[in-house]
Amino acid sequence: MFHRVATVLLRIIPVLIVVSVSTAVLIELVPGDPAVAVVGAEGTPEQYAAVRENLGLDRPWFARYLDWLNGLLHGDLGKTLVPPIQDVSTLIATRLPVTLEIAVLSVLLALAISIPVGTWSAYRYGRAFDRVASGLSFALISVPSFLLALILIYFAVFRPEAVKGLILAACVIATVVLAAATVGRRGAQLTAQGRRGVRLFALGVFAVGFVLAAFLPDFPRQGFARIGEDGLAENLRTIFLPVLVLGLAESAQLTRLLRSDMATTLNDDFVLASRAQGMPVRHILVKEALRPSTFSLVTVAGISFGRLLGGTVIVETIFRLPGMGTLIVESVAKKEFMVLQAAVLVVAALYVLVNALVDISYLYLDPRTRHVRV
């Protein structure tokens, strides 16, 4: 097992070398010259040549790449080429936490939505709940993220009263549907304890919706508040909408995946055996069927987490968030060799690391994989 973990982790290094070399080649192809930005429009050719020599731009790209690699191995990421001159490591230290926070919260939100919805959809395969949930996730997949962001901004920022009405209406409908399931012919299928549980749950849904609608805060159109400066509540308020956009988009995909995998698992013999033993549905779904059904879910969630860590340029642009995505875009435009190299390296390292962790998590999810020789 440790051997396998080590193999997975060792595979990261060649990938990082390939990524950083190709970044160096690519930025060489982008037209433009940071020296022009440093000298300005009024600079003489001599000044320009001096700046080029000073920044090392007169040397070939692989020499600069080797210099950068040497610095990296000594723990030095260098400084930006174009003023304002600052350490690349400080620049990344201000940008990375923003991206990291949004990525973590989005994936958590996506999992929090998709695991219950996907599980229940698979259990009620082809019935009303499944059809509504599948239809919604199918529609959600078809909404481009920038459109979803603008829709959410329009309603949450400019029409908050509509959102409050919608939340209340959704809660009332959910409460009525849940309560209706406990009376009459359908209610007779449940035990008395089950009926009480569902009714309590319906009451809880109603209470949560009511509280949400009553205390819904105003969300800002754009901007970002750091936890250290403005406190946690302010921080959460500014990142709520971006996280909602990314989380909803991911959750649609994950729900579909989990639903189809879970439906396959529920056909397995061990589920039949559990049912024959009289295990309650909740136990079968959560304790027995969920774990073997989560392979694609974990894989895809890992991939999307890795992608989100690369910064989502569109959402960062719309909400004016200072994240990694916009940093990479800016440094390509300004041909900031040092910043781009460092940023791409950090993003790629995190991406590969997350995927390696996903590979390792298979060992937990399926004990059979622990003994396969690779």
């Binding site: 990938v15 390939v18 990524v19 190709s22 970044t23 690519l26 930025i27 192809l29 982008v30 037209p31 433009g32 259990y123 395969y125 082809g126 059809r131 509504v132 599948s134 239809g135 919604l136 199918f138 529609a139 997949i141 078809s142 909404v143 481009p144 993220s145 920038f146 459109l147 603008l150 829709i151 901004i153 329009y154 920022v157 400019f158 299928q189 189809s260 439906a263 396959t264 529920l266 056909n267 589920v271 039949l272 049912r275 690369g310 340029v313 569109i314 642009t317 719309i318 995505g325 990479i328 875009v329 390509v332 435009a333 791409v344 993003v347």
Partner: protein, 312 residues
């Protein structure tokens, strides 16, 4: 219609409902009258209809009686920021420059559809030919192509697009070309995997025993078999590429204003989102319906033609 009706209920087998469900197994497929079948496929028919209307409108856009939607110097006396009024001269309203939104949406459809289908065509042809070659001959050809493919996949697409957009002019041909190149790896992998599976089959062996050359086996035996599942996948890729194109134009990296695309219409309308939401939502709804239709058709096509996804 509600979104749930768009989803075709997958074929359910008796085992599933008897294994978990508390309800008796039902067989909606058996002995159902044709009218019900039509109704169950209503979402599919609506999707096909929407795409057909859009394609026809995009082809004949120059002959339709539309108000000016592309050239701001011709709309000086047009009303600006008019909200949608179905019976007026501008049924879907006008933007800040007085450009007609209906006309913009139709010309935008032309861009999106040309980019989407054109790029997928490029991806299917190039990726398909390479995938067939790699999957049939294996060996060094396969290893070389696979390495190239992995390199193309591993590269962050956004940095690739940013670098390219500063080198080439973002017009229709270049955007199609770039997105087509990005679509190649997916089709390469798909055809390669399918070709590898099919070339082990007996009908290929039979063809070879009859003395068929490799070129004939590739063209007459393998291509028809591989093509179906590749094309089944193509619709979803068209949808993905249309989203990619509109995201690029939203970021200002694709075709520029005043030539309308859905993405740049939405981008130019987002500052007026509070007072004039139709600037964003009209092209947005059209984009959404198009992507939804393509996904719906792609879903059906995969279930119909790709044996691997038939299970669910």
């Amino acid at each position: 219609m509600s979104v749930s009706e768009r989803i075709e209920e997958p074929t359910r087998d008796d085992e599933r409902s008897s294994a978990v469900g508390t309800h008796p197994p039902v067989h909606p497929e058996r002995r159902s009258p044709p009218i019900k079948v039509w109704f169950r496929h209503l979402g599919l028919w609506l999707s096909v209809g929407w795409l057909a209307v859009e394609i026809i409108a995009a082809i004949f856009a120059d002959f339709l009686p539309l108000a000016e939607g592309r050239n701001p110097s011709l709309t000086l006396d047009a009303p600006i920021l008019q909200p949608p009024q179905i019976l007026s001269g501008h049924p879907l309203g006008t933007d800040r420059q007085g450009l007609d939104i209906l006309s913009g949406v139709i010309y935008g459809a032309r861009t999106s559809l040309v980019v989407g289908f054109g790029a997928v065509f490029l991806g299917v042809v190039v990726g398909g030919v390479l995938g067939l070659t790699a999957g049939y001959y294996r060996g060094k050809v396969d290893a070389g192509l696979n390495f190239l493919n992995d390199a193309l996949l591993a590269f962050p697409p956004l940095i690739f697009l940013l670098a390219l957009s500063s080198v080439v002019r973002p017009n229709l041909e270049n955007v199609t070309l770039v997105l087509g190149v990005l679509a190649i790896p997916a089709f390469f992998r798909l055809t390669r995997a399918n070709t590898m599976a099919y070339s082990q089959r007996n009908f290929v062996l039979a063809a070879r025993a009859l003395g068929a050359r490799s070129s004939r086996i590739l063209a007459r035996e393998l291509t028809p078999n591989v093509l179906a599942s590749t094309l089944a996948y193509a619709f979803v890729v068209v949808a993905v590429l249309i989203v990619a194109e509109s995201s690029l134009s939203f970021l200002g990296l694709s075709i520029q204003r005043p030539e309308p695309t859905w993405g740049n219409m939405i981008a130019s309308g987002q500052n007026d989102l509070e007072k004039h939401p139709h600037l964003v939502f009209v092209p947005g709804v059209v984009l959404f319906l198009t992507v939804l239709s393509l996904n719906r058709i792609g879903d059906w096509a995969q279930r119909r033609w790709d044996p691997r996804s038939r299970k669910l």
